[in-house]
Structure formats: C-alpha cells, structure tokens
Amino acid sequence: MSEESFQLSEEVFIPKEQAKLLCDPAAGGYCAFEGWVRDHNEGRPVKSLEYEAYPELAIKEGSRIIKEAHKKFEVLGANCIHRTGHLQIGEIAVWVGATAKHREEAFAACRYIIDEVKSRVPIWKKEHYEDGNSGWVRCEHCAAHEHSH
C-alpha cells in the first residue's frame, strides 16, 4: 500500500490516472465512486462549491481509513483523492477506487472508504447558491439558529 493512498488536490485530477495505479493482474473487480458537484441541495439551486481542508490531519485520517479498508476487506488496492478549492457544477469533488479478487470486496471497500471519508476527514464544504447566498454545510443551521435568537 502506497503512502499516498489518500491525497488532496487543488487541481482537477483525472480518475483514470488514479485507477491506473490500482492495476493488478490478480484483480478481478474494480469499484469506483465519484462525488460530483450537484446543481442543487435540499431543494436549493447551487451554483458552485468550495472545499476547505485541514491538510495535515485530513491526509493522516484519510490514510488511516484506507488502511482500515485493507484490514476489513480483502482489497488488493485502494486510493482516494479529494479536491479542495472552488468547484463548478459537474466537477469531481472526490474519487475512490478499490480493487479486489472478487467484486463483493471491491464494492464493500469502496463504500466503506467514501462513507468514512465523508464523516471523519476534516474537509468542509461551502455551498454558493444561485440566489447569491452561501453556507457551510452542516454548520450553518446552528449559525442561523443562533442569529435568530
């Protein structure tokens, strides 16, 4: 397993180049997930997204998640790369790839990694709405709540 199994990228990246690193003649199944910037969230039209990371800890925690996937599932390879900065609709925000002998393990590892990354890695998402407003996802409700009191 490479030390660079979890990466942050300020620039657009090519999933295929990441997938190539996972090539392995023993692999029978490859599962990939890509998170794309959607044009709406909870009914609100979204214009663009901003991702901000705490890089040092994000890379540590992300790499731990990949290591866990190796332990839990019989994966041959697993990688994840997460964008930071300002992203437009349709851009890839996060990519996960996992290979295994059989598809079950490839699916399970890929799913595990994206779920854990989304809930544990210190990366934050700010939505810029069509109406000109913006908000930090999962942080602003409380903010709004506070301000209304």
């Binding site: 800890l57 210190p122 903010a143």
Partner: protein, 80 residues
C-alpha cells in the same frame, strides 16, 4: 499563562476573520479555551458540535493543554 497556537478552518475561519493566531491563556483544556473564544468572537457553533485536534492529531475536548500546543477546532465535516 501558556501560549497556544490556533489555526482556523471553514466557518470558524470566516467568523474569526483570520487563519491563525497565537494567544496567551489560562485555559487548561480545548473545551475551556473554546468557551473563551466563542464569547470573544461570537462563534456560532456550540462546543458539543466540535472536535479538537492538538498538535495535528484528534484529541478529547478535555485533554490537558501544554505551553506552545497547536490547537485546531474541527466543525462538523462534510467532505465529498
């Protein structure tokens, strides 16, 4: 009094208006320090919504802080 180094991210960075600062404090845990900061800078997040990282690693909000520690508060994450 100890000196602590703070880095701010996301909503905390915006509400504080800067990315990092060093400060002198008597706070002995990240939780205590946050109450101080929250009051001073009117942070909207409650202490219970945050995780703390000290010197680049997740830690409890009740851990003991030492002089020159680097402290980061982690708002609810939303990667991907």
């Amino acid at each position: 009094m100890k000196t602590l180094h703070l880095q701010y991210f996301a909503i905390l960075r915006e509400q504080r208006g800067l990315t990092n600062e060093s400060m002198q404090t008597n706070a002995s845990t990240p939780a205590q320090l946050y109450e101080e900061l929250k009051c001073k800078y009117q942070f909207s997040l409650e202490s219970e919504q945050l995780r703390a990282a000290v010197n680049g690693e997740f830690t409890s909000m009740d851990t003991s802080l030492s002089d020159e520690d680097e402290v980061v508060y982690i708002p609810p994450v939303a990667g991907g």
